[in-house]
Symmetry: D2
Subunit: 260 residues, 4 copies
């Protein structure tokens, strides 16, 4: 609100009084000396200005483009990081897992980030449960947000699309059909470690799957493991983002990331 | 991952060993007796299935539509909740604040929720700082996510678009120009109170502004006040969602909400 | 600090300037209008006055005395809550587990609380690992703070004295010898559940063992289980505090609790 | 529990079944393959062993003794850290503020810690509100746990003994009379900062005042200020612990600290 115009000021004060009147009950804990509106205005530092994309889901001006359909220049092979990423680009639009070639990972390393990624189940629907359209997104090369064709495909709840694999089940199953593209909008908070290597605070993740909340600042309980209890065996810093080759021809497009 | 197929199993195990080899260092804290993959699968209860919208930003199947351009049936006047919402509908597309008529509020009450809302600054750019395109979204009728024309319009950082008003500044300014529509995708966690009325845990809010993270599970420090220190003066339950008449012709459209 | 005396005021201001000078760097985010000291004083409501005990470890005036050596009137048998607690009182000083009679539990129910309890390993040192001096304190009849003779007695780290059983290992092993009394000073925060029964926030526990921090607001991951993964299978409210008969003659004394 | 003895095992299983039977309702989320007790035992690394003091309140074996009545060797003047601490030692038992000489601070720097400290109001009761027995303990030289003679001495709730000064009021007033010694047992968690200097997580504090909980993992909202809104103006690492000269002859004794 603006205190420079008397009119607005009156509106503001009126509004404030309405709020109080409306809620009744005990008054807020107040200081013994009335304050002025300006006293709770914080002006510095100015918030950085960025330019959002024209279309929801596209990259804003401060994002790093990890994949825009043209090339895999931001990616390498995980089996041999000195080699290019061995997956396929189709129609200058999306990449497709080349089964048997192994995971791919970014050249850059990341910690806290906002990630947008789109994925599609393989064109041919086959297999079931974990065998259908399985892939995954590994934050810091360790913590997996599951990618799976979860459309009409029952599996364990902490292993379906939108789950933190074998850790946190999604709130809902918001999966689209196998010939449609899905989006993940992810806010990832990396785990923190103490100087001596012990865990200080666990990782956290918020995920919108096709615009629908499936993880709300969920705790990540440790390194993703296929077998056994999850925990944080060692301290680490920023690390690569990896996409999993799980032997299914899962497709990915429009991948961008913002460091937080 | 699927343990029923030997092939997949081998991939999984190989992958798991790669991870371990790759990160080296101290081994994870392990139990003295090896586990099986199935032991960390949780199958029940099945995750509810919903249908996402075709287009990012549109309502999924489990959303309550608060406004789709056709009518204000979900809203009433805040000055007199027995009266219809006095704001204007334009082109069967958006609503516009009718200055001087007061705030409007939903008929339904909400607590934890996911909200999608689109807004545009008034067509005519006038005023400055808090005087330009000012409105607001009040969760539980108390906690304001600020709406403002923050495009080329400096104001205090904790009062611009994307801020929790006079509480939390946004991470970035992702505002579009005054003739363009903006989106807020909000995950709101209501404050909890103890049976005796004391605060148990404060409210929390995550906001994507035009798809860009501006609040990441930020703490809401109390009832939004124009003047003075924020706090939680009283316990309350679910309450209406309100839109503010701040004397500017701010526009809103495509409003839907999901109870969490 | 007191603003009524000029002298003190000067000290305060000087101190405040010292702090600023000393830390250099960027100045604190300041409002555009200077405040007065009184504006951040909160006077109401007055903080309740209680009387602490003369001796550290003894009950303050607002504590509920659960056991003072005289009788077991606050306790019943867990096998049959209509029956008195079947354990033994020794020397009008402490109670001792009567092996085979089962757990005992309080008549009253508790949620958030501060608990002081003293325990001693059985007079005769026998058995090893989990077999030596095993008992336990169950908050809300579900979440176990382990009691064990952990003096020169290696066991699994998440099962020794000061652990949340099979969940959180203590930070250090602060156990006294078997003929000495130990103290636990515990701050317990109960889990919260949503109206539909889902977990809202997990339980939390802080424990000082013989005055030494062994749990620092640690997360309790669910119902204590001897076998399997911990979780929160069902919502519940306040419940009894229970002491475990694990077939060892563990001793307890000076038990008091404060509702938080 | 011990799985090596069949007897104990049976007790454990019986107990576990009792728990389940007793709570009824929905069964815990279970994996499709039963586990063994050993699978949730974590043995490594062994928890460090320390020796607690004979008497509650005294220093355990891993504490750093900051003051034991004999000398001020661990302290220096804050006005000139190259000079010895100018306060007075009385009876080889306690130190007393020498009004006008300024604060004193430790030679060592600390971050997360457990602190035990005892204090007494000045022998002569004079002044009122903030003028009576005022001193303070500054963690990391910035965040003040208030010391005041709060016995029959009303002041603002967020400025009395046990408060985080001008931030968090204590849960209760557990102050002893002016000729008696008080104890603070404090668990302090330092704020964390991101590499770029922004706050990552605020400080936290738990305080037992004379054995009674007055702060339960309370959030510290920033640098303690006599005037204005608290915030975190700059990143910092470990820093000295300081005791305040507020012109009152407050007394301190038995000060020890453990790094966490």
């Amino acid at each position: 609100m603006n205190s420079k115009t008397i009119g607005l000021c009156l509106i503001a004060i009126t509004f404030s009084i309405q709020i109080k009147a409306q809620h009744g009950g005990t008054p807020p804990a107040v200081s013994p000396m009335p304050m002025k509106p300006e006293m709770t205005e914080i002006w510095e530092p100015e918030v950085p200005v960025i330019t959002p994309a024209k279309t929801l889901g596209d990259a804003p001006s401060d994002a790093i483009i990890l994949f825009d359909g043209k090339n895999l220049d931001q990616w390498v092979s995980q089996n041999d990081p000195s080699k290019p990423a061995p997956w396929k680009i189709v129609d200058n639009d999306y990449m497709e897992v080349a089964p048997g070639t192994g995971n791919i990972q970014t050249k850059m390393k990341f910690g806290d980030c906002q990630l947008h990624i789109e994925f599609s189940a393989p064109d041919k629907v086959e297999g079931e449960s974990q065998g259908r359209g399985n892939s995954g997104i590994f934050f810091q090369n360790r913590y997996e947000l599951q990618v799976l064709d979860s459309y009409n495909n029952r599996t364990y709840r902490n292993g379906q699309a939108g789950s933190v694999y074998k850790d946190q089940a999604p709130l809902v199953n918001a999966m689209r059909g196998p010939l449609e593209w899905n989006t993940y909008d992810v806010v990832y908070t990396a785990p923190r470690f103490k100087p001596d290597g012990r865990l200080d605070s666990p990782g956290r993740i918020t995920v919108l799957h096709n615009g629908v909340l499936v993880q709300n600042n969920s705790t990540i309980h440790g390194l993703t493991l296929y077998i056994g209890l999850h925990n944080y065996p060692e301290a680490h810093g920023d690390d690569v983002l990896a996409l999993q080759d799980h032997n299914n021809k899962t497709q990915f497009r429009n991948i961008w990331i913002r460091k937080l």
